[in-house]
Structure formats: structure tokens, C-alpha cells
């Protein structure tokens, strides 16, 4: 044990002798681990949030397709669906999009019929009449409005309409309501010139969750021009979007991994003349190959463990304390209204363990292999070279 600790002491002295080079390696290595870990933490948390929260989404959403495009669905279809065994409530939903060319912002306008009391995450009230609206935090911040202020929207007839803000969704609901404007359903119909007897889609409640797929098929059979979207499909969409293997997350992940591979490859192929001479001297004064390999193992472990731990800590602080500020612009795209990520941590220790395994082990291997090649060569020729 004492021998190993002595070798560790020597390894640390050796690292400190080349402190500038090793510090640079630690910085690059830490940034690489921090990037990969940030992607893992962010995607895992967003996926967990989506899957947990959207579990309360409608069991089936029924859209109507006309000429291959989404079209308004007759509310009369709701009655036909409601009569199917196993179906609970069928609620017509009225909603749409509104583009504000001044700020280049898209809003989602949604119609509400009732004003539920004690709705969580809402400051103020739902719109009680056709003159009121309830806003998401993103809109309130973009336009600097608060409860009691007025919002002017231009309707389908190109007339300006003034709505008094009766309520604001608070920051905690930002991921769900950031760009949402709630109006009374009747007012929204007038605003968009939607015909009576038609809705954007139908939200279907299914008593037994195992029957959702069967009922979706039955709905499709009964209404051939409809497109039923089951809750599992909604959840699957978000599972795919925030899977680390999909889209831009994979690009970021792959870039960081490639950077790490370049670092490891450089380490594996290039052992400096100083290091070679050091190994030659150690061998000449009586160290055997195992001691040299142990020395290099300690050197590799000291660097990789430090970089991994620092990288993981930085990633955690970045994602959960600073709202993934550096990754958010990558995710944001062209969205003008983009929510702040106040995420609930979702930690997958298995992923962290795999990340540790994928970053620490190859680096140590890349440190040991060239040293082993040098250590098995004659010390005299190593020192002379």
C-alpha cells in the first residue's frame, strides 16, 4: 500500500512538473464532460417533465382531415363518439394560432367555456366575459402587461379588439402556457370567424386506459376522415424529441464525444520526449515495468477523475441552477417566445455511471498504452532517442 501511495505521490509531482500542459488537458476534458452531461441532464429532465405532466392530456384527440389537411371537425361527431362503449366525456376544443408581425411572435389562442375556481398556477382569473383574456408569462413579459392592463389583437375581420387581462399564468407553468392566450370560447369563435357547430378537434376521455388504442381504431372506422391521436402517441412524441439519441441533442453529444476522442487519440499517439526520458530514467534506476504502468495509471486517473467530477458538477449547476443558459439558444431555434427552463431534476445514475465509464476508462487506457510501449523498450535506447 505504501509503495502505491509513493508512486501516486510521484505521479502527482510528475503532473505538477508539466502543470501547464496538464491544466490545459483538464480544462478541455472538463468542458467535454460538462457538455455531454449537460445534454444528458437537460434531455432527461425535459422528457421526465413532459411524460409526467402530459399524462393528464386527453386520452384521445380526434382531428378531422380534409384533402390531407387538418380541418374543423363537426361537433355532431362528438355524440357519435360518446355513444361508443368505454368512452366518457367528449369535449370539443376550440383553439388556433395568431401571428403578431410586429414582434414576430406566434401565440396559441384557446377558447374556454367555464371558469374553474382554484385553478393552480394562475394569478387572477379565467376570462369571465368576451372582453377579458388570460395570458401566459411569455406574452406578459414580451408586451410588459399585467393584470388589469389591456391587450390589443386584430381579429379575422382586421378590426382591433381590446381585451382586459384578467389573469396571468405564473412562471412555474411556463413550459405549458408560455405563449397561451385564453379567451371565452364564443369570443374566440367570433375572433377567428369559426362556424358554429364546428370545433378544432375533440378531446375524448376513455375510462379504461388499455382500451385507448382499440377505441382509436373504432373512431377511425366510424369516422373515416378523422385522425385519432392517442395519449401514448403524444407521450411518444416527447419521448423521441428529448431522447438523447435524437436530433440536435445527438449532434451536440457527438461533437463533444469526437472532441474527447481527439483528446484521447492525441494522448495515445503522442508521448513527449520528456516523458520518454523520464520513463527511461525510472527504468534505469530500477523501476520495473509494472511500477511505470502504475505511475501512468495514477496520472491518468488523477486527470480523468478530476475532469469528470468537475464536468459533472458544472453540468448540474448549468442545467438546474442556471436554466441551461448555454444550451437554450441551441434549442430555441427561431422561437421568439421561449420559456425559461426551471426544471425539476431527473437524475439517471445509470447514465452518469455510463458517462464516467466512457470518459475515464478510455483516457486511462490512452495514458497507459504508449507508456507501456516505452517501458518495455531498452532504457538506454529510450534515453538516447
Amino acid at each position: 500500500m505504501a509503495r502505491r501511495l509513493n508512486i501516486l505521490e510521484h505521479a502527482l509531482s510528475s503532473l505538477l512538473r508539466r502543470k501547464q500542459k496538464n491544466l490545459a488537458i483538464i480544462v478541455v476534458y472538463t468542458l467535454t464532460v460538462a457538455t455531454i452531461a449537460s445534454v444528458l441532464f437537460l434531455t432527461q429532465s425535459l422528457r421526465s417533465e413532459a411524460v409526467n405532466v402530459l399524462a393528464a392530456a386527453p386520452d384521445i384527440v380526434v382531428q378531422r382531415l380534409a384533402a390531407g389537411r387538418h380541418d374543423l371537425i363537426p361537433i355532431a361527431d362528438a355524440e357519435q363518439i360518446r355513444r361508443m362503449p368505454g368512452v366518457g366525456k367528449v369535449e370539443p376544443r376550440v383553439w388556433g394560432y395568431y401571428y403578431d408581425s410586429l414582434k414576430k411572435v406566434n401565440f396559441t389562442l384557446m377558447g374556454v367555456k367555464d371558469s374553474p375556481t382554484n385553478l393552480p398556477l394562475l394569478q387572477g382569473t379565467f376570462p369571465a366575459n368576451n372582453e377579458q383574456c388570460t395570458l401566459g408569462k411569455g406574452i406578459a413579459e414580451a408586451y410588459g402587461v399585467t393584470i388589469g392592463d389591456s391587450l390589443v389583437l386584430v381579429d379575422s375581420s382586421n378590426s382591433s379588439k381590446l381585451y382586459q387581462v384578467s389573469g396571468l399564468f405564473i412562471a412555474d407553468s411556463e413550459l405549458l402556457t408560455n405563449d397561451l392566450i385564453l379567451l371565452q370560447e364564443a369570443e374566440l369563435r367570433r375572433f377567428f370567424k369559426l362556424p358554429d357547430g364546428r370545433a378544432t378537434d375533440l378531446a375524448v376521455e376513455v375510462y379504461n386506459q388499455r382500451e385507448v388504442a382499440t377505441l382509436a381504431k373504432k373512431i377511425k372506422l366510424a369516422l373515416p376522415d378523422s385522425r385519432p391521436i392517442g395519449k401514448t402517441e403524444i407521450l411518444h412524441t416527447y419521448d423521441t424529441v428529448f431522447n438523447w439519441r435524437s436530433g440536435i441533442m445527438l449532434t451536440l453529444f457527438a461533437s463533444a464525444l469526437i472532441a474527447f476522442c481527439i483528446l484521447a487519440w492525441d494522448k495515445a499517439t503522442g508521448i513527449s520526449a520528456d516523458e520518454k526520458r523520464e520513463i527511461g530514467i525510472l527504468k534505469a534506476i530500477g523501476w520495473d515495468t509494472n511500477d511505470v504502468l502504475l505511475l501512468k495509471f495514477w496520472e491518468g486517473l488523477a486527470i480523468s477523475l478530476t475532469a469528470f467530477l468537475l464536468g459533472a458538477i458544472i453540468a448540474y449547476l448549468h442545467v438546474f441552477f442556471y436554466g441551461a443558459g448555454l444550451l437554450a439558444p441551441v434549442l430555441q431555434g427561431w422561437s421568439v417566445l421561449f420559456p425559461q427552463f426551471n426544471l425539476t431534476p431527473a437524475i439517471d445514475l445509470y447514465q452518469l455511471f455510463v458517462l464516467a465509464l466512457l470518459t475515464i476508462v478510455p483516457y486511462i487506457a490512452c495514458t497507459i498504452v504508449p507508456a507501456w510501449k516505452t517501458a518495455v523498450t531498452d532504457p538506454d535506447s529510450v534515453m538516447r532517442s
Binding site: L5, L8, E9, L12, S13, L16, A50, N52, V53, L54, A56, P58, V61, L65, G68, H70, E91, Y97, N106, T108, M110, P116, L119, P120, L121, D172, S173, L175, L176, T177, N178, D179, L180, D201, A203, I229, E233, I234, H236, T237, D239, V241, S246, M249, T306, L309, A312, I313, Y316, L331, G333, W334, S335, V336, L337, F338, T344, P345, I347, L349
Partner: protein
Amino acid sequence: MPRTRLFVLFITALTLLLAVLLAQGIRQAANPSFSQRAEKKALVATLGLTDLSIWSEARYTRHPSQADLFTPFQDYPGAFDHFPAGSIIAPGQPKPQTTLSFKQRGEQ
């Protein structure tokens, strides 16, 4: 062995810090008042929401689960997407059953 002692202390401190952060994260996730999952679910159920309000740039990025199957490829199949967010969203929905069929000449 002052360097060894210092190094072991440093690594232990980092490990402890990471463990404390992870433990705090796990505790926060288990704490209903922190995550507010119940409140968010109530909001989703009341409004009948189907999607997260993340990308508001186009209708198929605002409501990826409700979008037409072909909307991300409006110009032609396999076209590059207009919107950066479209590159994040991988196609995730199962393929609908096709009703298309062909018959060879002479086939009944």
C-alpha cells in the same frame, strides 16, 4: 506525502459536492411542492393541453404531437426544414396503416 493527501482531499470534496447535488436533485424530484407536478397536471387536464409550449415558431413545432404527418416536409418529402426546431424533433409517430394497394395486369 503532502501531495497525495491534498489530492485525496480534493477528490473527496468534489465527490461529496457531486453527491450532495445529486441527492438534492433526487429529493427535489420527490418533493411535490417543488416539482408542482400535481398542479401542472391539473392545468393540463383543465385546459386539455397536448403539448409543451417550447417552440412557438411554427404550428408543427408548437404542437408536434398534433401536427399533420407531412407538415415538416411541406416542399417535398425529405426537404430540409425551414425551422431550426424541426431538426430537433425526430419523427416519432407510428406509421398509419396504408389503404393503398396495387394490382398487376390480369390480377383479379
